[in-house]
Structure formats: C-alpha cells, structure tokens
Symmetry: C2
C-alpha cells in the first residue's frame, strides 16, 4: 500500500480561466511614469498568475532605454493596503509583493509566482526617460474545482443565504488546488482540521471526491513513526509531514474517512485506510489515560481564542471521533476492534459527563470556564439525551461565555445547534456570523472574524491574515444540506 504513490496518481489537473479586471484600469492614453499608481479590481477573489501588458511612449519614438521598475501588491482585502510597516509574527515573505525590474517593457510582464487576490496595486518606482501606457491585464485563475458541477441554488432562495453560499463556494474553489489548501495566500498547506470541513462542503458543491481521497492518502502516507498523523502536510515546495502533532486534527482523519464513505460508498477505501484511522483512537485514548483520564490539552487546537480552557471540547472531540470510528468498524473492523472502540467510548464519556453542570445545563472546562467550544463539542459527542442536548444549546444561546473567534470553531457551533434541533438558531448564527463578513465587503470568507474588531489577528498584524480560508467555507454545506436539501 504505497499511499504516496496513490496520492500522486490522483494529482488533479488545474482548471484555468482567464479573468480581467472590472475596474481601476487607467485610460488607454494615460502616460505613466515614476510614482504613478493604479489599483485594479478583479471584481472577485481569484488565485492564479498575473500578466500585465504595457506599451512604451517616448519622445522621438525612441525605444525604452532602461529597464522598467514595477511594484505589484496583491490584496485579498483592501485592509491589507495599510502602508504601515509589518509587525506580525509570521514571516512577512507571505505578504504578496513583487518588485520587478523588467528588461522588456514591450512584452507581456508575466509574474512567475501564484497570488491570491481580488485587487492588485501597480506602481512604477523608478525614473525613466519614457512613459508607459496601460494595455491589458489578466489573471489565469486556477482551481481543481469544476464550477460546472456546483448546482445553482433554487429560485427564491433567501437572498442573504444565496450571497453567503456564493462566498462559501468561492472560498472553497480558491482553496482547491493540488490539495485542499488552508489558504491560497498564506500557508498553502493541507491541514487535517481544514480538510474535514472542506471535504464536507465539497460533497455538496464541487464533488471532487478524488481530491479528498488524495489528501487522505497524503496524510496516511506521511504518518509519524508511531502511526500518529501529522496536523498538516507540506505539499510544496517539498512533500513532507509537519512535525507538529494535534490530537484533534489526527482524530478528524476518522471523520474525513467516514464522510468520504457516506459520499462515495467506497468500502475498499475504508478497508485500506482503516488501520490508520483506528491507530488515531489508540493514540488519543492512551494520551487520555496517561494524563489521568483527562485530555492533554497542549495537543489540541480547538480554536485561536486566547486563554481558552480546552479540556471539555477535547474530550468531546475524542468521543465524537470514537463514534465515527465505530461507524467505520462496521465496514472494516474486526469484532475485537469494535469491542475495543466501545470500551474507549465508555472510558472517555464519563470524564466528559463529569464536566456537565446540570444546574446551568452547561458544560464547564476543568477550570470552571464556560465556553461555546465546550458546549458544542459535548453535544456533538452525544453523551446526553436529545432533550438535554437541546437544553444545553438553548442555555448556550442565552449565556455569556467565551466565543469562538474563527469561522472554523463557529462551524461546530452551528452543527451542534442543528444536532440539538435548533436549526433556525443555527441559520440565524450563519446569517449573523458569515453574513457579517459579507457586510465587511468580503467576496469570500476569512480565517478570522471577530465582530467589532477588524484588526483581530492571531499573528499580531491583520495584513498577514488569510482572507480566503478553507475552514470558513461551510455555510455552503449547511445551506445546501439543511436548507435546500440536496
């Protein structure tokens, strides 16, 4: 079973589409020189390769006698155009800038790198004895998603939900490249946590099931020595596992595989990847026992919230994924394996139930902290009865507590509301949360959204945030699965 070879055999062909800006183009006869600048708006977010065409105008019809210096700055969102020095913690080399010296300003200027953007600011930065005029600009936009396969929403769909769906589909499209990338601007990496949500949305939109399978193979083929899966895989510039281990992400492999089976019915794939999936439950359960029947929260991501008590949410994820493993065991597991899984579920569930504050109908972290994260994962784990889960989610809606800061965590909040029978409340949340992003002028959904704080960034500088981020695409899943009923 050479998983990496199988992953490679599933390498998608990228679809290419030529797109031109919709506004911001200089007049055809405008002579531009040092300091001149224009901002092209492509009307929507795209990922791809830019070409700019200029022409040279010089007195006496002389040729351009020196290279042309051009600066390109690409923005997914205009808030990236601060003009201030960068102060973030992540490498500033992710900021999408190109400073080119162009030997031939007559020829198309083809930028060698791939960019993720809606806007591009083009500035001429050196004195030249000639001027240039604008001729053309286009992006060759790339994606491994086939837009023709995305079914249109029915006539009469609520306009706000239709807009939200459009942005979700666009977000997923631009993150679908050779793998499901987390963000096409920054990281460009295959993360298990992102993949879980991307794959869910993919089944209701682009239906590129082979891309999900390719990503499953990549994770399986790049497991650590003890069988634990990496939180992420680098697919460029070199194919390599990431050393950082997150148990929630490793467990989500089970969820991705279970969803893949539900979408495709391919039990051959389940059987092939079953040992990998099962191994994640063993590792997470051993860590639970080693920590004294608690989750080792250092090994869980959950959300970017500072000072979040992850203890309850982590247990909720373990139980949820143990139950998904049991679902897969019916296809691929032995009776001993099923028994072992049930024992693990019975081992972890009491620790989770032990965090339930029945007086409030809310779960607490071991520190006593109340957070939405605890409620949603406890409900998704299904350790209470249905009526009590509804109580938990109703109480959650009414109680002030630690809120999710990422659309990623917000996804599980909406999912838990739906599981608890509160579909209207889930859709109110979607309208409010993802609709709020649209009100900020987004075409697609960002990595971080904190209402009232446009500068929020986990990295210390909003300009490094990813404004088209995979884990934020799931409204299209909710709308198409629960509203439209595809």
């Amino acid at each position: 079973m050479d998983f990496l070879k199988k992953a490679n055999d599933l390498m998608p062909v990228l679809r290419e589409k030529t797109v031109r800006p919709t506004s911001g183009m200089p007049e055809a006869d405008k002579l531009m020189r040092e300091g001149d600048c224009f901002l092209l708006d492509f009307g929507s977010h795209f990922v791809g390769h830019l070409t700019l065409r200029l022409d040279v105008k010089r007195p006496g019809d002389d040729a351009a006698d020196a290279p042309l210096a051009v600066e390109f700055r690409f923005f997914e969102n205009l808030c990236e155009d601060t003009g201030k020095p960068y102060t973030g913690g992540l490498s500033s080399s992710w900021l999408q800038v190109a400073n080119l010296l162009v030997d031939d300003p007559y020829a198309p200027i083809v930028l060698p790198r791939r960019y993720a953007f809606r806007y591009v600011k083009i500035r001429f930065t050196t004195n030249t004895s000639y001027s240039v005029v604008y001729r053309d600009c286009f992006v060759k936009a790339v994606t491994s998603g086939d837009e023709a396969l995305v079914e249109p929403l029915p006539e009469g769909t609520d306009p706000l939900l239709a807009r939200i769906d459009k942005a979700g589909v666009l977000t997923l499209r631009d993150c679908m490249q050779q793998v499901f990338e987390d963000g096409p601007k920054r990281d460009r990496r295959l993360w298990l946590g992102d993949l879980y949500l991307q794959a869910k949305t993919n089944y209701y939109t682009f239906k590129n099931n082979d891309l999900v399978l390719r990503c499953l193979y990549l994770f399986a083929g790049l497991a650590h020595e003890d069988g634990c899966l990496s939180s992420a895989v680098f697919h460029e510039p070199v194919l390599k596992k990431q050393s950082w281990i997150l148990h929630d992400y490793a467990l989500f492999f089970i969820g991705v595989l279970a969803d893949y089976y539900r979408a495709t019915g391919r039990d051959d794939v389940v059987k092939e990847l079953w040992p990998t999936a099962l191994r994640q439950t063993e590792i997470a359960y051993k860590a639970f026992l080693d920590a004294g029947r608690r989750a080792n929260t250092d090994l869980y991501f959950i959300d970017w919230c500072p000072a979040l008590d992850k203890s309850c949410a982590a247990l909720g994820i373990i139980v949820s994924m143990l139950k998904e493993a049991l679902f897969l065991a019916d296809i691929a597991g032995t009776s001993e394996e099923k028994l072992a899984l049930k024992e693990r579920i019975d081992g972890v569930s009491p620790a989770l139930i032990g965090l339930y504050d029945k007086s409030l109908s809310l779960f607490r972290g071991v520190s006593g902290q109340l957070s939405i994260h605890s409620q949603m994962w406890a409900v998704l784990a299904g350790v209470l009865d249905a009526a009590e889960e509804t109580n938990v989610m109703r109480a959650t809606l009414k109680t002030a507590m630690v809120d999710p800061v990422t659309p990623y965590a917000m996804h599980y909040y909406a999912e838990a509301l739906i599981k608890a029978g509160l579909k209207d409340e889930a859709f109110s949340l979607i309208r409010c949360h993802w609709g709020g992003m649209l009100e900020r002028g987004c075409d697609c959904f960002p990595e971080v959204y904190v209402p009232g704080d446009r500068e929020a960034s986990p990295y210390g500088d909003v300009t490094i945030n990813s404004f088209c981020h995979a884990w934020s695409c799931t409204p299209s899943y909710f709308i198409r699965k629960y509203q439209v009923g595809y």
Copy 2:
C-alpha cells in the same frame, strides 16, 4: 540589400562558461536567517546569469513553511556599494538589484536577468521559522568573444602593460554580446563611437569580424530617412534606431568600414556599404556649410568634459573621416565621388588650419579655449606636415589645457601621439591613465576615469557609472599593434 536581415543572419552564438566565486562563501554549516548577509567575490568581472543554491534547516526537520526573501545586489566595483540613496539622473532601474520571494528555497534559485559584476551581496530580508545554509553559487558567464583566439602576449612583456592588456581584453570580452555593447551593466546599446574603438581592438584580440559586420549592417539598416546614421542602435528589448544624431558618430561609420576592410580585405562589403558611408560625408559637409564653414558643435559628442569647446575637434573628425572615405572610394567609389570628397576635404581643412595658433604650436577652439581634444583631432586630421604635428603634440604634453575625462577621448590622444612619432609618450600616457585605473582595483576599464576624483560621474552619482565600458578597451589595441607588433 536587406541590411537588417543580413545583420540577423550574423547573430552570434554566445559562449557560456560556468564560474564560481573565489571568496566570500559562508561556511557550509553556517545557519543564516533574517539580516544575514554575505559578499561573494568572483575574482574578476563577468557578464551572465547567476544561480544560488541553498539548503533549508528547520527544527523538527520540518519543511520550509514560507517563501524565502532574498536580496541580491551586484557590483562591478565595490564603490557601488554605498548604502546611500541614489541621486543620479539616469534611471535607477539600471542599478543591479533583485528582490526575490522564492517559493522553493530547496531548488536552485536562478535569477532571470543578466548581470555584469565581480561581486554579489546576498542578504536574507524576512523573518522565517527556518534557517538556510549556503551550498553553491555560480554564474553562467556569456560573451560572443572566443578567448582561445586571443594570442597571449610574448614572454617578457612589461608586467604593467601585460596587466593593462589583460584588463583591456576582459573589458572587450564582456562588452561582446549579441552586439558590441557600450557597457554590459548599463545601456547595453550599440553606439557607433564605441563600436569604432571596439572593432579596432577586436582585430588584435578576439577577431570576431562577423560581429563588426553585423553591427555595420545594423547601423546601415536603421539609418534615418535622410540617410544619416543614428548615434546608437537599441538591440534589446526592441531593435530600433536611436533618434539622437551625432555627426562625429555617424562619420565614424566610415572609419569602422575602412578598418574592417583593412582587417578582412572584403571589398564586397565596402561596395555594399559605400553609399551609406558616402552619405555621411555629404550630410556633415552640408551642415558645415550651413553653419558658415564651422562645425555645428551641438551635433558632436567629442567627450563628456563640461564646457568643452568642440569646434576644432569636430572639424578634425570631419577631415579625418573624409580622408578615410577617400581611402574607401578607391575600392568602391566613382571618380566623381572621389572628386567630391577631395573638394570637401579642401573645403573643411582651411577652417581647421585657421584655428591653428602657430606661436604656441597649438590649436584653439573658436572661443580661444585650449584642449587636448583640439590637438589630437587636428593631428589625426593630418592638416599639418609631420614635423609640425610633432611640435603640436610636444606642446600639448607641456601645456596645461582641458583634459579628456573619458578613456574614449584619451584613446585619440594616444593615437595622435603615436601618429606624431611620440610612441614612448603615448605608452607613458597608457601606463599612467589605464594603469591608474588598475591601481583603483579595477579588473576592467570603466566609462569614466578622473585621477583624484573617484566620485566623478557624468550622471550625478558614481553608482550608476559603468565600470566595464567598451570605449575604454583600447590599450590592448595599442599594446598589441604598436608594442608587440602583431
């Protein structure tokens, strides 16, 4: 006669040589990050394409998780590394800088542009979570000169002259590309004034006579409507004549053609290009008459000296080139054309002789100014008898007057000394002038050399000067023709 097609058929194949730095390489295990910098010295001047190879080192053996930002600055001469803002008049896009964002720091970093340099300063400019180590760096050096054809100087050649010759040969080599470029760092253009001197040196070194012919065809094929030749031809990014007309440069076409005939004996080429050559004499002579039997000095370059009175030197050039035309007329001209040329020589010579101050044995400009330029061009015009020419050049050596600032003008000074029988004085000049450049640590000869003024620049900033400049290569011509006697 499609001159441009013929020029294109003579497009040279560039010879490529891989050269590695001789010093400045970081230790193989030195970890480098943001702010780290090293200066590679390639030991000599080269023109070509650079490749840098690095490797990535990251804790946990993780892959590089962000692009690598690298700044390359290329220097022909370390005086270009000022760190000060550029203040010159020419386009700063000629400064040889590359700011790259490298998506794959594991792969060879191949810079797309051609550079002219001995030194390259490489600096890592963004924070990354990984370090890089140095693996390799090389330049694929290119030239259309075949070094195997350059005869070594005889054993026992004076060491200073041998060093000067080596730098002259190197200067010419690096300016020999698809055309004879003026400077491979800046302009990269085919100028008639530079070509005249490059071709002279070429016959005694690289013997790439086809490259001379190609350049003659380019000028002939890109003449202005009235038949006047351009001062220069752009050969990249587009093949185009330069609108700027210089009568001295246009007249030098005759000199280049005459020298080409002397080197090759090809009277077919002389016959083919004779109408073009003859036309330059008609145009210059008409301008002389129109100006009231003076040279229209606005149309003459002569040298970069500020406030130079060019009137005498310009007349000297007209007479010199009329005489070269008469030489060519013996091969290709009609008797009427010869007669017309003689009439033109007889027309201009008296105006030149009229500027002779017999009391000083020196020529003056019409303003009365004394300059070396006036003396050398009057002597090269041959309007006095041989003994009187010797007097002029002896007086020149002893009298304070306006000096040449370019090795280009200095060439004609040395040539005039030799013509006047003062070969030793010519070689003293060569030792002093071009030897002085070597004392500044040059590997090749620069565009501008003013003893005692390292900051001298016709452009307001020494960093934009060309430090490997075609018109400065002629010591190799003098040494090989007059000293070695090849």
